[in-house]
């Protein structure tokens, strides 16, 4: 919103500060000046302002002048509304408000014999030409400019009708079903029975409080006009404006609450400008009011305010005197409040205030307290810290979440945050339970049409983004929320379930980079290691990985059916990971192998975090023995692993695969595995005979499992 200081100063002849100081003081009181532009000698400045939605009364020159008057305690000149003397009319113009819930006041004034011409500076207080030039506001005609001028001056929408096009009198009513109205923007609109219209006795003339009608528009040929200044109920205007997709200056003001008492003043100012080029007034101002709406606005109940309440909410000031009764009274009076009762009977020291008609935002004592704080100056309050005796608690999952995050970071994965949304197709591909995807009613785009049921779509988009930019080494993870819906019978989503999940992805080379060692592409087991490290954070007895034949339909469709695994902890599926299905990779134009996975953290978070416990370290020499095994392809490591575990020998303290390799000398179905086993006792050095016995038990166990010892 643009404001001219020259115009402000016309209302504030005693303003004691320059424009820069005025801007600063207004801003510190919530009337924010965002930019100051000098307009040159004698023309003052143009303020670019940003007024909060609750202060619709200050979105015009007079409203801001009123604020400045309160800040500096200087007089504010009244708006010039004196009209020339005129002959009484035999009969008042007919105005009736039928929609008494939606129109609180309607004033009408008849002007005859006017001349529609170019605008100029008509008289002091109506410098239309000068102000419009400084504001770069386009001049249209003296009639349109008059209503625009009054709008800019005092924020009251007014409208001028071509009187000769009005049949009978004015009726403010709801539209009739199917009724049509061509509005000033040239659009023929079909009205809704909820729409509020200003009509004559035959047809609708204007969308009340939103936009005038085409047929009653002022033209150069117009001689006689009807000036409307009214008060429309906010919700009624809002609904009409929304229904027709219209947002106008008038609707903006009425939606936020106009000044009930401004209509006669605005009408007089418009009329005076129109008459400046000739013409005369016919009859008096027709002023129809709806008492119920007046009681909610201009005549609303006064508010009782206790000084103690002001102090309880606002606290300590820098100034030792603090907020006194005199401070409160000074501020409120300057803002246009009237002290009606010094002390309300039976209330401890409460004073009772009438609030100004233009401040519909002031309804309660807290609103008055805010005004006191605002005009007194927020920065004159002290900085104090409240005492506190309660306990401090963290989120139950905070520790687990940070442990998971640290583990992924230590493994060389960067944390990422992806979009909360994905396409319906990606949702169908990745949702754990298809059909429970939550679509948005007003999505940002089709690609962002639903709430993500999995973190995989976002992860894939980020991986693809990197690979397509030729960043071949990717390691990312995301901790985020995934969504699924529960549906009502009607088909609409009734409840949305939110769960924490972890996704991770890798492509390219391993993170260890050195010019001295060969680089190696990251592969399935690197990711498996990360998964195992994450699982190791939690207290579990059983963890295993398995996979299913594709025809079982259990493996997620985004995974390579033979290079992926389900992750099971304590008998519950806690996630899936593996290589991206080549079909999905090629659909996304990804040439490199992408490894990725998702963990259902809500299930992991149910497990306690593993608590490290120290055990006695053996002082005795460990002995390592390697076993070179030959196995049939059908025998996985798991079988050997289980066979060794089943030995249940406390002296076998560690066993692991040292190497897996294929040898042409072996049969096509066989592979070779180097098993390393460490023997150690807690209480003694192992003797040769013991070692031989354990050795034999290991050999027997692996033989049992189907492995042969390589000779």
């Amino acid at each position: 919103m643009k404001i001219l200081t020259k115009w402000l100063r016309a209302y504030l002849p005693e303003l004691p500060v320059d424009d820069a100081q005025l801007a600063e003081d207004l801003t510190l009181r919530g009337i924010a000046v965002e930019g100051i532009f000098s307009l040159g000698e004698g023309d003052g400045s143009l303020f670019e302002m940003d007024i909060t939605t609750n202060r619709v009364d200050a979105m015009n020159h007079y409203g801001i002048a009123r604020e400045a008057a309160a800040v500096y305690g200087v007089p504010l000149l009244p708006l010039s509304a004196e009209l020339p003397k005129h002959a009484p009319s035999a009969k008042d113009f007919s105005v009736r408000i039928e929609a008494e819930d939606a129109c609180g006041r309607f004033t009408a004034r008849v002007l005859r014999g006017i001349t529609v011409t170019d605008s100029r500076d008509w008289f002091p207080g109506a410098e239309v030409d000068t102000y419009f030039r400084l504001l770069e506001q386009k001049k249209i005609s003296s009639a349109v400019d008059a209503t625009n001028f009054v709008w800019l001056a005092m924020g009251q929408p007014t409208h001028a009708f071509d009187l000769d096009k009005i049949e009978g009198g004015i009726l403010v009513r709801r539209a009739r079903k199917g009724e049509k109205l061509k509005t000033l923007d040239g659009i023929e609109r079909t009205l809704d029975p909820e729409d509020l219209v200003v009509a004559d006795h035959v047809k609708p003339l204007a969308l009340a409080g939103v936009m005038g009608g085409w047929d009653t528009m002022i033209t150069p040929a117009t001689k006689n006009v009807l000036v409307e200044a009214a008060w429309f109920e906010p919700m009624a205007v809002r609904r009409t404006a929304r229904r027709h997709g219209l947002h106008t200056d008038a609707s903006h003001r009425f939606e936020r609450g106009a000044d009930f008492n401004a209509a006669p003043v605005a009408s007089a100012l418009v009329s005076r400008i129109l008459l400046a080029a000739g013409g005369s007034i016919e009859g008096g101002l027709v002023d129809v009011r709806v008492p119920a709406l007046e009681a909610r606005t201009a005549a609303r109940k006064p508010i009782a305010l206790a000084l103690s309440e002001v102090q309880r909410i606002l606290g300590t000031t820098v100034d030792a005197d603090g907020i006194t009764a005199a401070t409160v009274e000074g501020v409120l009076k300057a803002l246009g409040c009237e002290l009606v009762v010094q002390h309300e009977a039976g209330s401890e020291g409460k004073r009772v205030w009438n609030t100004p008609s233009w401040r519909l935002d002031i309804e309660r004592d807290i609103d008055l307290i805010e005004e006191v704080a605002r005009v007194y100056g927020y920065n004159r309050f002290a900085n104090t810290l409240p005492a506190f005796g309660g306990g401090v608690t963290a989120l139950p999952s905070a520790q687990a979440e940070s442990a998971v995050r640290d583990t992924l970071r230590a493994a060389g994965f960067h944390e990422a945050i992806a979009s909360t949304f994905c396409s319906a197709a990606d949702a169908a591909l990745t949702a754990a339970q298809p059909g429970l995807v939550v679509p948005l009613g007003n999505p940002l785009s089709e690609e962002a049409g639903v709430l993500r049921p999995s973190l995989i779509p976002g992860m894939l988009a980020m991986v693809a983004g990197n690979l397509h930019r030729d960043l071949s080494d990717v390691r990312l993870f995301e901790l985020g929320t995934v969504f699924s819906g529960a549906t009502e019978k009607s088909g609409s989503t009734e409840k949305v379930d939110e769960r924490p999940a972890l996704a991770f992805a890798a492509a390219g080379l391993l993170p260890e980079q050195s010019p001295l060692h060969p680089a190696r592409a990251i592969e399935f087991h690197d990711l498996k290691g990360v998964v195992e490290q994450v699982l190791a954070l939690f207290q579990t007895r059983t963890i295993y990985f398995d996979r299913f034949p594709p025809e079982a339909g259990l493996t997620p469709a985004w995974l390579h059916p033979y290079r992926s695994a389900r992750i099971v902890a304590e008998g519950t599926t806690v996630g899936w990971f593996g290589q991206l299905h080549p079909r999905e990779a090629s659909a996304r134009k990804l040439k490199d192998a992408v490894l990725l996975g998702e963990l259902y953290l809500d299930r992991l978070y149910k497990l306690p975090l593993r608590k490290p416990a120290a055990r006695e370290l053996s002082r005795f020499q460990p002995v390592r023995r390697d076993f070179s095994l030959i196995l049939d392809q059908s025998i996985p490591w798991e079988t050997i692993d289980a066979a060794l575990a089943a030995l249940n020998l406390p002296e076998i303290v560690d066993w692991r695969v040292r190497e897996v390799f294929r040898d042409a000398k072996l049969g096509a179905r066989d592979y070779s595995l180097l098993l390393g086993v460490t023997f150690q006792a807690a209480d003694r050095t192992l003797r040769d005979e013991e070692l031989q016995s354990y050795h034999a038990q290991v050999v027997a166990a692996v033989n049992q499992a189907g492995a042969r010892l390589r000779s």
């Binding site: 909410i313 300590t316 805010e370 810290l385 401090v392 009613g441 609409s492 949305v496």
Partner: protein, 368 residues
Amino acid sequence: MTTEAIPNLSAFSEAALNQAFAALEQQARAAAAALATPEAVEAFRLDWLGRKQGRLNEVSSRWLKSAPPEAKKALGQRFNALKTVVESLLDAASGAGPTDAALAAEAIDITLPGSHRLTGAEHPITKTLNEIVRVFAALGYSVGVGPEVETDYYNFECMNFPPGHPARDTQDTLVVSNQERRPQRDRLLLRTHTSPVQMRTMEQQPPPVRIVIPGKVHRNDAQDATHSPIFHQVEGLCVDRNITFSDLKGTLDHAMKALFGSSVKTRFFPSFFPFTEPSADVQISCIFCGGKGCRKCKHSGWIELLGCGMVDPAVFAFAQEKQPAYDPKKISGFAFGMGVERIAMMKYGISEIGQFYAGDMRFLGQFA
């Protein structure tokens, strides 16, 4: 190495033994003195202590075995003494380590870059969010969270945005589809701010409350350099008896100093939020120029950082439906909320908000 063979011993008298062992010791000392390389040390070890052909082994097998029983003890003592000497010579020789020349042959290029075990980076949003939360935790604030999909009631109505209120327009809301037939208060939407968690917290516990709420929020905003449909907020709420506007000022002034440095100044402006009254916007003195005015603060010396205010009594009235102790005549409180992206962009000099959500390895790697 040339060594003399062990001669057969013909006499086993004390003198003969002394002479024979003295000769061996002398040989050992002479050989040890000439040791220059690790290989030579190893050869010395094998020559003297080797299990199969070692000289001591030979002494033991040839002299000890052929010795008459009465001489065995004397011979054994001398043998052990010699062994100790040889071992100590060997220790001394290997302790000296390889020569400089030998070490020079092992030279490496120390100017090659170090091998990096890459550590993943914490996302700058997580990092900033945690920093903010820590500051308030130190002031006695617990941490709370709430759902990202909210009902109209929690997101708007109980936060004093009645249905049809124009203030709803400023928060373009993403809604879940097909909600039109449900009662307005139950309609599902993506929360536009973290403020609903204020009400969820108050419904769960009577005052006093001190809670800080980090979270993701969404608006139907077109993406540009500083706007994103996805962003994060940290919300705070403090409710108790006698909580005042000056407490709000003091708390946030302290928090801003903790976050941005003790020389930072704060400034409060009247603002408007439906759920607080009085409401304020808070500016801090520019962290780049110290308040003198620069490009970053648009030459004002100040940077706008957060919104706050005293909890509106209307919000307490909603809380009272479940917790009668939130009587606005007896208790009071303040709330505040800040955009995490804005703070992170400022702290790290990030110019495009979209970079937070693109997962670009180059961007994220900067925060490792």
